[in-house]
Amino acid sequence: MTLQIAGREFGSRLLAGTGKFASPELMRDAIAASGADIVTVALRRADLSGGRDPFANILEYIDPKRYLLLPNTSGAGNAAEAIRLAHLAAAAGLPKWIKLEIHPDPRYLLPDPIETLAAAEILVREGFVVLPYINADPVLAKRLQDAGTATVMPLGSPIGSNRGLETRDQLRIIIDQATVPVVVDAGIGRPSHAAEAMEMGADAVLVNTAIAVSEDPCRMARCFAAAVRCGREAYEVGLGAAERTARATSPLTAFLDR
């Protein structure tokens, strides 16, 4: 089954980010190698005036025919700032989809739950497809779904930390209760982290730092794509339950059935 968000189908369950790359050309190539269909861009790095600023031309490296360009509000410290950025993006002709990121703390970049919910309620009412970045808080995830967000995007661990799914127990609850796709965002530092999220039943993952700062971003992007595919397939096939004791593959009682 393919990934569906707000009634739109996507072939890839790996979402790509655009920050931290050594050059825009490398970013473009790594995104292509990842096979991603959805690419998120920080609005603060783009020119939203329509003047095609050559010194802020990150959007020109993402083909809007090939990818769904998902603007994000990174840099916003409260709901009002995030909403202003969303409006500017829509006015600049970008898709009316928004990855809502509100992190007032520039150090850990942890999302503000109160401002995020407030902004989501307003943007959903205004007709935006809202994908909120949140801490792995199951109740907040439900509140956002009730407000009409198209996904929830809980973090595995802080942005850029490469620490993997430190929130796995909370993620399990969010996935178990979800009525919209769950996209695990932030902290995924290795392909095995991505596979783990997919095996748990996450609908997709978003990876940026681990690809962008790798020695070979294109190869690393392919590694993540493979891990996401494997993890998803294993989830769909159904993984065996974990046991504390060993189960022999050649049972000792087999002679009784002979």
């Binding site: 920050g19 931290k20 790359f21 050594a22 050059s23 825009p24 609005l43 603060r44 790095r45 783009a46 020119d47 939203l48 600023d53 010194f55 802020a56 840099g75 916003a76 410290g77 700032e81 202003r84 950025l85 500017l88 007032p104 703390d105 520039p106 150090r107 850990y108 850029g160 490469n162 730092t209 962008a212 700062v213």
Partner: protein, 408 residues
């Protein structure tokens, strides 16, 4: 963990001034002196560093063989946290009028230099020249003189620029929170203030006249700016007055305090070394290139999330070497005199004596090359040359990293 609480004797520090008064600097300096190479290496390998670990990283022992390891770790941490990008900014000097006398600064009131204050139109002309080069992040710099550089003038300049420049920071004489409020509302998002030296004795010796003599008032400036809504705070010490390790320990304590108390602000730390300027001041305790490298990496390990800023005070070869080690933001193609980018204000050049303008002799401003700069820069390369260099080093030069909508 970053907290210097263990070295100040109480936990509930409200302002940094109180924490600073109680900071046991000598204890940390002694720890630094007695550190061996093995201790330094161990400190460098930790995930969360304590103030003691920072003292070990800036120790003489850490400057030897293990500096290479510290640099490697600093580089890896910086790339993971900030990516393979370097942000660019340019200083725009508004005025070189000043009521202070500071032994090391070219703008000192008793220096008979060519002075000028740009009007709003001239400031806009300078900003547009910088914009043409690519800059979307401008630092407005000014001497401290209420007669020439008032709060109203600053707000006018910021308002005029805000429509065209997404990110505006200020480096001006310290103000009250109530005076900062209209500047933040006008669209400034960052405030930079260097303590110059955290040594009270040296501070008194260097600042011989004017309101800048007030050490405490300056020390609490970042907190007042934060209260007014500034989103980026920049601090730093000026190296060359005294023991750089003492300055570094105080600076690290200051940074740790601001990270905890001003939690919504992005903190940057600058590492300026004294440069030649009018007045011919000679640094009594010059800091070596090796010391500076060690400090950049020690700060990165101790403050993984702080921006580290390197200006054109440093020469090209050193800048090129330091950038990949832990620096996140640099200036390029800088001028340290008002009107430096376009020649704006040249016809208004004058001397200032006791706050009064003294006109130059007839025709003198025609042969003058322009206003006098604050100091001589050491990296004369253009912004375009520096951007190309960054690309060769494997970094994307980032010009725009902020949108005016965030400070509207």
């Amino acid at each position: 963990m970053l907290d210097f609480a263990g070295f100040v004797g109480y936990v509930e520090a409200v302002s940094f001034l109180r924490e600073f008064e109680a900071l046991r600097i000598e204890e940390l300096l002694e720890l630094s002196r007695n550190t061996g190479a093995a201790d330094a290496r161990q400190a460098a390998g930790k995930t969360l560093l304590t103030p003691s670990d920072f003292a070990r990283l800036i120790s003489p022992a850490a400057a030897g063989e293990c500096l290479e390891d510290i640099c490697r770790r600093s580089q890896a941490m910086t790339r993971r946290r900030f990516g393979k990008v370097i942000r660019l900014f340019a200083p725009l000097y508004l005025s070189n009028e000043c009521i202070n006398n500071c032994k090391y600064c070219g703008f000192s009131r008793d220096n008979a230099i060519l002075r000028v204050t740009l009007n709003v139109e001239e400031v806009l002309r300078e900003a547009r020249a910088l914009k043409e080069q690519g800059f979307r992040n401008i630092l407005l710099v000014s001497g401290e003189h209420p007669k020439f550089v008032s709060g109203g003038y600053m707000a006018d300049c910021i308002r005029a620029l805000h429509a065209e420049v997404p990110s505006i920071s200020l480096e001006i004489g310290p103000m009250e929170t109530a005076e900062y409020l209209p500047l933040a509302e006008a669209g400034a998002d960052g405030l930079v203030v260097y303590q110059e030296t955290y040594d009270r004795g040296l501070y008194a010796e260097m600042h011989t006249a004017g309101p800048k003599r007030n050490f405490d008032w300056r020390l609490e400036t970042p907190e007042r700016a934060y209260a007014a809504g500034f989103r980026r705070l920049g601090i730093g010490a000026l190296y060359g007055f005294g023991d750089w390790r003492r300055e570094a320990i105080c600076l690290a304590a200051h940074a740790a305090h601001l990270l905890r108390h001003c939690w919504k602000a992005q903190l940057t730390v600058s590492l300026p070394r004294l440069r030649p300027c009018a007045g011919q001041f000679q640094p009594p305790a010059p800091m070596s290139d090796r010391d500076l490298t060690q400090l950049v990496c020690a700060l990165r390990l101790y403050l993984p999330d702080a921006g580290l800023v390197l200006s054109t005070r440093e020469a090209p070869q050193l800048r090129d070497g330091l950038i990949p080690l832990g620096i996140t933001m640099i200036s390029a193609g800088s001028h340290t005199e008002p009107g430096g980018y376009t020649g704006a204000g040249r016809e208004k050049l004058h001397h200032t004596e006791r706050g009064r303008i003294v006109e130059l002799a007839a025709g003198a401003s025609e042969w003058a090359e322009g206003a006098t700069g604050q100091f001589e820069i050491a990296d004369p390369r253009s912004s375009g040359e520096v951007a190309a260099l960054l690309q060769r080093l494997g970094y994307e030069p980032v010009w725009k990293d902020w949108d005016a909508a965030l400070t509207a």
